[in-house]
Symmetry: C2
Subunit: 519 residues, 2 copies
């Protein structure tokens, strides 16, 4: 058994049995070990952003980390943007990054770089696996670091000679016990209860992370029903259980003026696993903080603390246990007519009406996708995965990972065209693995969001050169050809009826389908 095998066995023993990979020479022993450990599922991505984005999507739906396998500093660098998104979604991930043999470092060979330096800005935990003798312990520590609540990015560098050398001691290390999420102090609960009782609808609870599942959301719904306080969530969340039968939160809008309007009557905002809401970008003359100036921010439960327990404690102390929450009923907007032209409103209505129960929706719709989230609040129960870090190019990869994690559930990607280009290689992995993914490609042939942002930041007198930087129609990208070039079937509907048929076909479990929708 060499170091690579010891690491694969450690990962499997630690419950990490899925590896998204784009390997190179320095990872060969890890790859070779895969044949001896069929329990480790290895999924190939043809670009590292697909690999890390898939691990993000996997963790969101599996509630446990996947491993990634990446090739030296530049390979890791290609995956960083989606590490950023996973970090903002508070997802666990174990990155294995191959590097030159330790004795080869001194030569500064062409592919050498400061791998630890590359990993650091987007990892919570980084370690160089210097020897085969310690690599199992290092691997177990990486898993423990990833599992540390609320979920962390752990990056373990695997030098080639660590991988190919046999460890002296073949012990496979178990993952150290991960501390449970700590409970919130009773005094803080009491303080929050007092504020909620006193403030009524001027109080908001801001939820995030683990609190966005159906169970804790229903607890929040009870608190609202009993006290009149409002329940908010940030603009972007890693995973929200929503639709019929779930309690629907108020989401803070992306647009600053809309966020200010949503929060204008809130005088006390109690944070349960969330941060105080701020503008995504700064704009001249607009505030960074979107709560009113006189709104008091009350941190109740931190990201890593026991959020469900906190809500349970609030319910108990408020006597809200007998108050039923108002849960969402199934009430999608009316379906558009079969011969109606395709419109953004029609698309949102059709997706809301047709979304199958248990669907996983990956939302990288950006400008073209803004209507879908409100439209689907009354759809059948489903999970919604937002782009959490704003680093575009997470949609197609996240869908790959979500579909690998939950092959029993249809995955729908609401995908902006501009963002899709960054990691279009994700389509190939969908085809290779026969994944149950329907890509609704929202094709506005532009970086439409930037046209709006140009005005928002007060950049005046934009002329044709500036506007040309946001246009993707010289040449237009043929997304049907793009998808087919990578083995994914594709259709371009002309009416809402065409779209509805394609969407129903796509979500029926016959492998990936891309629907190229002009908007």
């Amino acid at each position: 058994m060499n170091g690579a095998e010891a690491l694969v066995r450690t990962l499997l023993a630690g419950g990490v049995d899925t590896c998204f990979a784009n390997p190179g020479t320095s990872e060969m022993h890890f790859v070779a070990a895969l044949d001896r450990f069929p329990a480790m599922r290895c999924v190939l991505g043809l670009f590292e952003g697909v690999v890390t984005g898939a691990a993000d999507g996997y963790a969101r739906m599996a509630d446990r980390p996947a491993a990634t396998l990446l090739h030296l500093g530049p390979g890791l660098a290609n995956g960083l943007a989606n590490l950023h998104n996973a970090r903002r979604a508070m997802m666990p991930m174990v990155n294995i990054v191959g590097d030159h043999a330790t004795y080869h470092r001194v030569h500064d060979a062409p592919l050498a770089s400061d791998v630890i330096g590359v990993a650091t800005p987007f990892s919570h935990w980084v370690r160089m696996g210097e020897s085969a003798d310690t690599i199992s312990a290092d691997g177990a520590a990486a898993i423990a670091a990833a599992l540390d609540p609320p979920g962390r990015i752990a990056t373990l560098v695997l030098p080639a000679d660590t991988a190919w050398t046999d460890p002296k001691d073949p012990t496979i290390h178990a993952v150290p016990t991960v501390a449970a999420r700590p409970r919130v102090d009773a005094a803080k609960i009491e303080d929050a209860v007092r504020r909620i009782r006193a403030g009524g609808s001027s109080v908001g609870l801001m939820l995030n992370g683990a609190a966005m599942r159906a169970g804790p959301l229903a607890l929040a719904g009870r608190i609202r029903a009993a006290t009149g306080c409002r329940i908010f969530a940030p603009t972007s969340n890693g995973r929200t259980e929503r639709g019929a039968g779930r309690f629907a939160v108020e989401r803070v809008p992306y647009v600053v003026d809309m966020a200010l309007e949503t929060l204008k009557d809130v005088r006390t905002l109690i944070l349960v696993g969330a941060r105080a809401p701020v503008a995504f970008f700064a704009y001249p003359g607009k505030p960074s903080v979107v709560t009113p100036p006189d709104c008091e921010i009350v941190p109740l439960a931190d990201l890593h603390e026991d959020l469900t327990g906190t809500l349970e404690a609030l319910v108990d102390a408020l006597g809200a246990g007998r108050t039923a929450p108002t849960l969402q009923s199934f009430a999608p907007p009316p379906m558009p007519g079969a011969y109606d032209p395709i419109t953004p409103e029609g698309l949102a209505a059709a997706v809301a009406a047709l979304l199958p129960e248990g669907a996983i929706v990956v939302d990288e719709g950006i400008t073209g996708g803004r209507r879908f989230m409100p439209g689907t609040v009354a759809a059948r129960p489903h999970d919604w995965l937002n782009l959490t870090g704003g680093a575009i190019g997470d949609g197609l990869p996240m869908a790959v990972g979500a579909a690998i994690a939950r092959p029993d559930r249809p995955v729908v990607v609401l995908q902006a065209d501009g963002s899709a280009m960054y990691t279009n290689q994700g389509l190939w992995t969908m085809a290779r693995e026969g994944l149950n993914v329907t890509v609704v490609l929202l094709n506005n042939r532009s970086y439409a969001t930037l046209v709006g942002e140009l005005a928002n930041v007060g950049a005046k007198n934009a002329g044709p050169t500036a506007l040309g930087m946001f246009s993707l129609d010289r040449p237009a990208i043929d997304w049907c050809q793009m998808a087919r070039s990578m083995g994914v079937e594709a259709v371009r509907p002309e009416t809402m009826g065409d779209f509805a048929r394609a969407f129903t076909e796509g979500t029926s479990g016959k492998g990936p389908l891309l629907i190229d929708v002009p908007i």
Copy 2:
């Protein structure tokens, strides 16, 4: 005039008039400024690896830096792999990375990250542009840093409020004088002369960087003609002027055993702008250093020193000025027959025979491309740009930049299929800009190099799972569809005659063409 305009004016005043860009919200003022400064050519890439790779290719052919415009930490992260390649090619580059407004940082908004930390591993010079008042001086310093011999990566972070605020003082700073390349000490020249005279053919000169142009190469050829010493170059070079009329160096092969064989009789290796040759990767039981154990390494001129002056001094001291170098004659291998099937040998011969004078060849051929470099040594005079850092995905982007820098010259990309996938978005920019690029897509439907590397590293008993990680044929990628989806014409030749016609058509200056060649 705001900070963004001051920066654009500073770049133009400093001779930086081409900007490869993938902007976002935080770069809007820079983009808006473009319409007021038409002298700044701005080229859009739909992924940041295209942007930085294009700046690499531009610098290689323009001998001056381009700017890049990137969006916060994750946007920069997507461009790092090709910064790595540019750094290894010793190319100058000025990266402008937008960031959140300085006062917004404290809020750790979703897209916030440690931009300086992201830039550091692959930049020689990094600065945060904290204020509009200093941004012109910062921009001038960035250009100076990039121009510092032999060529460096300079990264300037531009916070949004630095961009949108008007500087108090509208002075546009000139670029500080860049120190000339220092001359090599006469004693070192004398020492080298003594060694060359004494050692004859057991002495090698190892060239790189600026020494790989026709002029200094001819000087090296004189030294060889006069003394019998050998002239080497590393496996990968940023830019080599070669073909008919040029002096042909001996290139150190990538494969370790071949490198050892090439260098086995060398007892003294004198470095002129090069480093001592080492293996690209370490392999069990093989050396990292590919010169013989008893070979003495003599650093004569460092990367940043005056390499042409060094060779001139050697020529003078050796009395080689009257000895004509043996220059390469035009003698390509015979063209294959028109109805011959396509073979790697046939392709190499056809490219060698048909390559137009003055062509720029971008070589990311990897396994499928190994035959092209020897085959073209006797082609018409041309420039050859290697993948210098081993971070695959530089081929299509480099071709974009080279074609922008030299619109008068045809660009040919020898492009491996696996590597092409990383930055396939480069095809779109070729179509958008109507670039004179012919992509010879070497389609072996695999990561073929890794099949060989698996054996090289001694990873035994590879089974179907491991081998499946190197196969790109489930599904096969249809590169003609891929190219056409982004507006690039494409053909799939079936005979060598088909290939020859397509290659001639592609290099005739009618815009981009992809030739999907099965190998």
